[in-house]
Subunit: 223 residues, 2 copies
DNA sequence: TACAATATTAAACGATATCCAATTATATGT
DNA sequence: ACATATAATTGGATATCGTTTAATATTGTA
């Protein structure tokens, strides 16, 4: 478990309590839902006082944040490696989407739901949002940068905006899927979304906008 | 003000109190922020008991919801008319975005932040969402349908999905702007987002779009 | 051991929301 | 106009919960 042993006992204990809180907290969140789990309940189960709990996690939601961060780390590492081997932006996005869906949601659907609502809840909270992020930001940033460099992603937009766009598209698919799996089957919708991201919703020729060539010759196809 | 007089006095009075609550509530929200305004304060100022207040608005946020709904109605009417006069999907989306942004954020921004996060929070809550909606749904639906019919919007994606994307894109731009106006200036970002939605992020020729080729039986047709 | 830094805690706080029995206002039938 | 039923309002008590505070206990270190 604790791979990096902290210097002194105090630190070790703190880390231990911290992990215990996250573990038990997540257990309750899963079992009875986020809102119906009280801080007191968690504190009691961990066998610390509520105040101590707040010393570790200043707001309830941050317990999820902690869990999520730990979870996403390995995923991020794997995907960042994989991405560089793929030939183009489309396949990179596609791969990221499906892998994320498979690993993060499929297995832990309920948790992600909680995390999503946490994320949404704090969209308007700058400080929290700063530390929080979706976890995908780094991945998407790399994808966009690679794409812009290789030339299959437009350069007339900031990396930040494109990244946000990707995040939001992905998020939407997930929310839709969670709220209505039949109407929005995960795999299919993700595939469509990749296409939407790359090619857009429009069918008309690329007029005015793009400075780069208008390459709409291949347009007839819609599919 | 009260253009549609209700049948009996009781209903009239109810409507009156309701409006009074919203008016005073919004006043406080603007003046001291949402969180620092208590239900008790509102009740006192409206001169009703807290219980009555809760009888009208079961949760604090719903006061904002009410305000929002009243606000969006006229807007919707105007935009739906305007839209049909515009030549293509791009201009329709563009116009809707800019007008919506101008309209919605003309007053104190914080309020909408709260409402937006309220809305987002309940995105996957069917029942709440039913009453809530973004208010844009109808507009976007019309835009997409017009576009698909006219042939400048792809038909291999469901109207519902495209509408959801539009909704969430718009909200994202707004939220980004609210949280960092310098990094995401409203007008420019909205314009870019429209372009992203229509043309996509890619630059490569439109190759193999998706695997589900079954779709394009009727594809040659329009356009 | 002494003492400063740090961690822990019980208790309190402020707010949302609910519930209730009593009271008041309104609608309706006669 | 009156009586009666129906619905809205009320103050007040209460539960619950997240978060804070101020005092206490523990630990690291000189």
């Amino acid at each position: 478990m604790g791979s990096v042993p902290s210097e002194n006992r105090r630190e070790r204990k703190k880390l231990d309590t911290r992990q215990k809180i996250v573990k038990i907290g997540m257990y309750f969140f899963r079992k009875q839902g986020f809102d119906s789990t009280t801080m007191e309940q968690i504190a009691n189960e961990v066998d610390i006082s509520k105040a101590t709990l707040y010393n570790y996690f200043p707001v309830k939601e941050s317990i999820i944040g902690d869990y999520w961060q730990g979870n996403i780390k390995e995923f991020k590492f794997q995907i960042l490696e994989m991405i560089q081997l793929l030939p183009d932006t489309r396949s990179r996005v596609q791969r990221t989407f499906t892998k994320a869906a498979a690993e993060l949601f499929k297995s832990k659907e309920d948790i992600y739901k909680i995390y999503l609502s946490y994320w949404l809840r704090n969209l308007n909270n700058q400080s929290v949002n700063e530390r929080l992020r979706s976890g995908f930001e780094d991945i998407f940033t790399m994808i966009i940068k690679l794409g812009q460099h290789a030339g299959d992603v437009r350069k007339d937009m900031s990396v930040e905006l494109l990244v946000k766009y990707l995040e939001v598209l992905f998020l939407t698919v997930c929310i839709n899927w969670l709220s209505d799996p039949k109407l929005f089957p995960l795999e299919a919708t993700l595939a469509q979304t990749v296409s939407l991201f790359i090619e857009g919703a429009g069918l008309g020729s690329r007029k005015s906008k793009t400075k780069n060539e208008g390459e709409e010759s291949a347009q007839g196809k819609l599919l």
